[in-house]
Symmetry: D2
Subunit: 166 residues, 4 copies
């Protein structure tokens, strides 16, 4: 709960709230918006739930590419080619609150809950457009592995600092 | 834990274990196998994790279509057309244990953990082929809603009995 | 061939070539860039070919949303809600020239080849990033149908003018 | 036209027509049925058109796995691991005739139109269930390439004989 409350602050900050500056510095976050296309919907007339995992992944990828405060971003392809490392998803937990529809914009607000030696826990929320309308909340655990053999490996410092600021 | 142990029994039963008969009768389960095609894989050389949600959904769909002990199955299209009801996924939680690859067969063993008035909690496991190699474990909460308006609605008896036997 | 040459001009124009202004006015075009994420790749290490159909669709959707010269854009959801119309794809033909990879930017350059009463033929090219490297060429025939009954319907003027300028 | 007529015969044969035996021997074909799940549909209430490329691919994969008359099948994973070869799609052309819906069975009837040194042209039709209702027709050109470098390579005899019988 306490962590969650802090994250709520971070989320507001990342989402560009008026008072968000300090919090944004304290708790790292990243906001990325995706559009809902035909490919994303199902016959229920709403976004197919599994696709939120794709949106969350796109947001993490863009965060990594974007970099952090004064820290250069990096692509996963480069991490693979230069360091021989790859990220794999260890677990996902998503609660679906409200449906989104064709042409909606979905704002993904991502923060980091925990960083370990070989993995990172992300907390990611999907909001409808610029509103406070929460569509889905996800907790995604990502692990770092060797490209060959898929063995757990320490997260490179250059990657950790992007997501945590230290 | 106790529930989980019971479910383990159910899983073995559903999977056709030698002593499974009685347990299978006691705890309902359903086994469905999918094949990994190119569309399922990613550049890591393994099945893209979000696709397990699709596999789990296919397995639930086929269970519903197949029906239960002495209970006729039904398609979701018919549930929608005749009862004006639709199933939506409320939450998903998946742990990924080992990767699967192109051409692998993935055996999905599904059981029901809990049945409420407007929702069902499924416990679903993905195994590699006929082996005991666990690939992923999922807990999927499905809700019943009205087709128009997406309002929570009681699960029809004809559906509940398929998944629970009563 | 002649048409193709004209389209080549349009493509350069749409892509922002230095001399493109006049051509861009003569032949309508729209450029939209997508990023390759994990979800897009397959175990061959490249973008799964079927996904180019998704990229082309995203580009057409954004063109419609963006509107044309002095013409307001519109969302497909609004076309459906207000006019009871929907667009369906009648045929697709795609040639794959070179593979794209994780983290690549793919620039989709779209033009219209032919406009009929109930359908539009799009010519869409996928280029690697800002380069001239052609990844795929598609010809996509889209039809307009009634939302209920899926009967062929005339393309609304407000839509036609976006894609053709008249 | 003549070829197409011959293929029509082959299709009937492959689809199990009463008189199909001789034709089936003369023109090779393979029938594979897929089910439409939620993941396959879009907000138009029908199967998302790009997914027919997936169905066609599944059908080709299962044909290869199944093998031909007196010829053992093989998995693509094994072709990659043992021969260092991979199949890539060079071009796709699909005409969409009628929509399919959730829970429909789609029967894919595949034949080979042409076999070259480094590629095969497949002709694939999607029918609704056991009916003659044609949903989509596809022509898919597949090429053989080296796994490393993606260079065009001759189709292995063991693969060609499966698809052509010689």
């Amino acid at each position: 709960m306490t962590i969650d409350a802090a994250l709520d602050g971070a989320v507001d900050a990342a989402a560009g709230g008026a008072l968000g500056g300090a919090l944004a510095a304290a708790v790292h976050g990243f906001t990325f918006t995706v559009r809902v296309y035909y490919e994303d919907t199902d016959t229920g007339g709403i976004v197919f739930y599994a696709n939120y995992l794709k949106y969350f992944e796109r947001a993490r990828t863009e965060w990594l590419r974007h970099g952090g405060d004064g820290v250069a971003g990096v692509s996963q392809q480069r991490v693979a080619d230069e360091l021989g490392l790859m990220f794999v998803v260890r677990s996902t937990a998503v609660d679906y609150k409200r449906p989104a529809r064709l042409d909606d914009a979905i704002r993904i607000v991502s923060t980091v809950e925990r960083v370990g030696r070989v993995g990172i826990d992300f907390h990611q929320r999907a909001f409808l457009g610029d509103s406070d309308g929460l569509l889905a909340i996800g907790r995604i655990r990502v692990g770092c592995v060797s490209r060959e053999g898929l063995k757990p490996m320490p997260i490179p410092d250059a990657v950790r600092v992007i997501f945590t600021g230290r």
